[in-house]
């Protein structure tokens, strides 16, 4: 579809429908490998969980805690590691490789809060850190609570029990 008209340097302005262009552009974008991202998320997410398990086992054997008692200090330790890596500017680089693998575990939640707090420190402790810390994590809490409520209803109405 040549739009060149007679004469030197005479070209019509760009014309294409929005629908046509979206297809045109889509064909020229690099594809994202869903399989590769899934494998990476599985490996990295799995490794974070293995690390968590190791920490929990450590608390159980060295501090003689029960599995339930060891759960809270384990989560705290993972959060601490995540915050440390965020502050050192490493977590976002790991996340570019790991994708959902580093976003889904508790370390991702800690990263979202810590990164927002760091970013908005310049705007002060109240309006900056306080007001923005839950900027990303807030929606996790809101929809986590909503999901728990729905699951709770299902549990009450249908009497389905977990362990």
């Amino acid at each position: 579809m040549a739009t060149r008209t007679a004469g030197k340097g005479k070209f019509k302005p760009m014309s294409m429908s929005s629908k046509e262009y979206k297809t045109f552009a889509k064909q020229r974008e690099p594809s994202r490998s869903v399989l590769q991202n899934c494998v990476r998320a599985f490996v990295s997410g799995g490794l974070i969980c293995v690390l968590g398990q190791a920490i929990q086992n450590g608390y159980m054997s060295w501090m003689k805690l029960s599995a339930t008692q060891a759960a809270n200090p384990t989560v705290a330790t993972l959060i601490f590691i995540s915050v440390l890596l965020t502050c050192f500017g490493v977590y976002d680089k790991l996340a570019q490789w790991a994708g959902a693998g580093s976003a889904v575990p508790v370390t991702g939640f800690a990263n979202s809060m810590c990164s927002a707090a760091l970013e908005h420190r310049a705007e002060g402790l109240v309006l900056g850190v306080g007001g923005n810390m839950f900027k990303l994590a807030g929606s996790v809490i809101v929809y986590g609570t909503v999901a728990a409520f729905v699951i709770g209803l299902i549990h009450v109405i249908f009497g389905i029990r977990g362990h």
């Binding site: 060149r4 760009m14 262009y21 020229r28 690099p30 994202r32 990263n111 810590c114 927002a116």
Partner: protein, 337 residues
Amino acid sequence: MLRGKQTWWFENRPVIIGTGTVVGPDEGAGPLTADFDLVHAELDLNQKSWEKAERLLLEQASDFAIKNSGLRKDQVQFYIGGDLLNQLISNSFTARDLGLPYIGVFGACSTSMLSLALAAHLVNSGTAEFAMAGTCSHNCTAEKQFRYPTEYGSQKPPTAQYTVTGAGAAVVAASGNGPVVTCATIGKIVDLGISDPFNMGAAMAPAAVDTIQTHLSDTGRMPADYDMIVTGDLATVGHRIAVDLFARDGVPMQDTVFSDCGLMIYDVERQKVQAGGSGCACSAVVTYGHLMKRLRRGELKRILVVATGALLSPLSYQQGETIPCIAHAVAIERGDA
């Protein structure tokens, strides 16, 4: 003088007598590092906030531009500038410290050529003898305002672009030594329905193609009349689309060197910048640093710089709006050509 529909013809041949470019560490690690006046080793420039760092980049670039022009600050009559931050704060504070009459403009990443075209217009029309154009962007302020906190671990898609940390400024004069601004084509908004802020190259490519085709029609020129036609920040994805759009429309871009500042500023294969560079500073530092030096050395005689801008706001894309895009083209020639 208006030529064609959208092109200003500068018959009095305003001259770019001096430029200043300052960049951050990632740009310093790129292939054009030798062409910049100053390369910072730290992203924060030892400032307390990213915003202060961005401001400092522009202050330094404008100081270099004035110094390289051989002028005193008070000889510059107008300063035209813009940036990506809300209410153009980087430029407002820089203009405050410069103490010059200031015209703030917003063209997102097209601001470099928008401000240069306006500065050339002021000088060409005789309303100024010396006018300065400047712009800046910072990777972390752009991430903070448009995307997520800089340290947040989100995976960027391969179509995403890396905002250039840097600033560029140019002093345009009625006479003097240096490359000449011969004409400028002011673009129209082109929006073909791309709404993904992580795919700005694809959103902006049609705007660049539209402005270039209009420029060629207005001036009666062919791509071969330019040694180089360079877009602002289309990066890998947008550049590929633009090449194919030109081929579809029968524009012989193969007769010139058609490139993109977003692909030139970084080693896209080696540096982790996804599709390539973006941001106001991308086209500014490549043009005012690298391309000006090549024009002065005589390696290039006539170039067309087409800065591309995605005029989105964080609010507009969260509300599901598409991305309005624009491109402004400025033709620059070697002084003695």
